[in-house]
Symmetry: C2
Subunit: 324 residues, 2 copies
């Protein structure tokens, strides 16, 4: 933990904000929460109770008393002067975020890092009204739920200072996260673009009637998805090319022509979001999704995720940076 | 196990063929192996010793004596008459496969299913010389290594009979696999197209200098990759839209405009396989892949995969069809 970060402001306490707040509390930080929605505090209390045990299994040092170290506030001006880091989780609307950022910038000390959970909108799009110190603003995009999934995408805007980037990266690492750094802003950042890529081809195949939505999901969870939890595209491709540092280039050379052929076919049949294909897609999706036991999936997926992270943590040195 | 399948021919005993043969043996089948490469039998013996224990952990009924039930042959004509199922794993060259398939078709009984491990070439491309019974030929594309990864893509050609499809699906299920059925042939089938989609965007982002190859891999293994081992694109997207059968359409409607914007940007900056970008890509990849401990990754990834499958098998009813 960077020593000078003791109090964090969580702005907006929906699903993402609440999860961040629980994580901060579990690491012994004081948390100031701002959310004007009615019932926000009750909803947060309930969420905190539901996550505290899972968080403890990730962090044996967690003390039960820390769960009390939060305070809901309804006035930003009078409280933001105390905070050492801001995690903003407001609605993903540029105008809204612009006005919110202007306030956060105005009421915090100029050296305090302001990180936005924006899921695809780069900071350049919402710092226009910040007149005080926009160089301490960046995006720190988590993956849902932030208290469990290790990834945080740190995305500076062109004017973000290097010390801001370092502080944000160090802070997220100190929380057990695996932050990655984007060198330039792109819409959708990295993980959502990768997800969009696979989703687009999935929608194409299912709306064309090549495969059922259920079989499409099985193709991922019983095939490449099992690898992606352990090795990313570069290591996976290198292993596919015989392994080692040269495996990647060998695979690209050997399979490149075949892959380019597949890519051309994929481009030709690209999912185009037309009303017609969207209608077929939703119909095919509902055949599968109507048969899923959602109560159990929702109740158990975080538990499965914890077990998976536990398996991975048994050899963190092989599979790269791990959070648990 | 379909009762009439007792002896399986494995044609080509490289990495994929050897893995199939081990799986067949572990389920009590007799295996006839054909591979003209020098040293193929010694290599297989070694591979079998290395995988037998892992296979036993997946299948408590496995008997040690079954490891002996294989025979290498060097003449197809005199032995193929005895086999009840053929798994072909020859080189991925259309002309080669055409000639090989002609022989397999000629020497087997006409009711025997001939399944090709072809990784992207549809059967239509290699059954042209089969004059006897091409309707019992299809693709059964496994994921490496077949003895561990549950996915098998069953891809009939337009003339494949429904009884052939049923036999192949039942046979693979009886081995503990999760076969999916493609309704029409497409190049690359399903899983390799989905992989190509994510790889293409990964290559684009890294060759553009947006993110390092290491951070790209971390984005997957610490983020969406953790989900894809458990829930496929459709269930994942539905959960992202609030869960339940309507979550999918809700997410598509709510996030569609943003996603279309990302897709347009991805298309504009698509990885084009030019010499220049390929060179940058390989250079960036080697910075990361040169620092990976390959000995340990190779030694331990199958172990990790087994643990992951074990975690998933604890609640197979939630996460769909599971192999273990």
């Amino acid at each position: 933990m960077p020593e000078d970060i003791k109090t964090v402001a969580v702005i907006g306490c929906g699903v993402i904000g609440a999860s961040w707040a629980c994580l901060f509390l579990s690491r012994g930080l004081n948390v100031i929460i701002f959310d004007p929605a009615e019932g926000a505090q009750d909803a947060f209390n309930k969420y905190l109770q539901g996550t505290w045990t899972a968080l403890k299994s990730c962090n044996p040092d967690q003390e039960d008393a820390w769960a009390q170290n939060y305070m809901f506030v309804n006035n930003l001006e009078s409280t933001l002067g105390e905070v050492d880091f801001v995690q903003e989780n407001g609605p993903e609307r540029p105008e809204f975020k612009q006005r919110l950022m202007e306030e956060l910038d105005r009421y915090t000390r100029p050296s305090v890092v302001i990180s936005s959970s924006s899921s695809g909108l780069p900071a350049s799009g919402f710092i226009k009204l910040c007149g005080k110190a926009p160089s301490r603003i960046l995006v720190g995009h988590p993956f849902n739920p932030p208290h469990l999934v290790p990834l945080v995408e740190v995305v500076p805007h062109p004017g973000t200072g290097t010390s801001t980037i370092d502080t944000a990266m160090d802070f997220y690492k100190s929380l057990g996260k695996n932050p990655i750094l984007l060198r330039r802003e792109v819409p959708g950042f990295v993980a959502n673009r990768l997800q969009a890529a696979i989703n687009s081809e999935a929608y194409s195949l299912v709306s064309r009637g090549i495969v059922s939505a259920e079989d499409l999901d099985t193709a991922v969870t019983s095939g490449p998805g099992l690898r992606w939890a352990l090795t990313g595209p570069f290591v996976t491709n290198s292993l596919g090319g015989g392994g080692g540092p040269n495996g990647f280039a060998q695979r690209t050379e050997r399979l490149g022509p075949a892959i380019r052929g597949w890519e051309e076919d994929m481009l030709e049949h690209r999912f185009d979001w037309s009303e017609e294909r969207l209608s077929v897609l939703n119909k095919e999706a509902s055949k599968w999704l109507g048969s899923v036991d959602w109560g159990r999936v929702t109740a158990q997926r975080d538990q499965m995720l914890l077990q998976l992270l536990e398996v991975k943590s048994q050899d963190a040195s092989v599979y790269g940076r791990q959070s648990l």
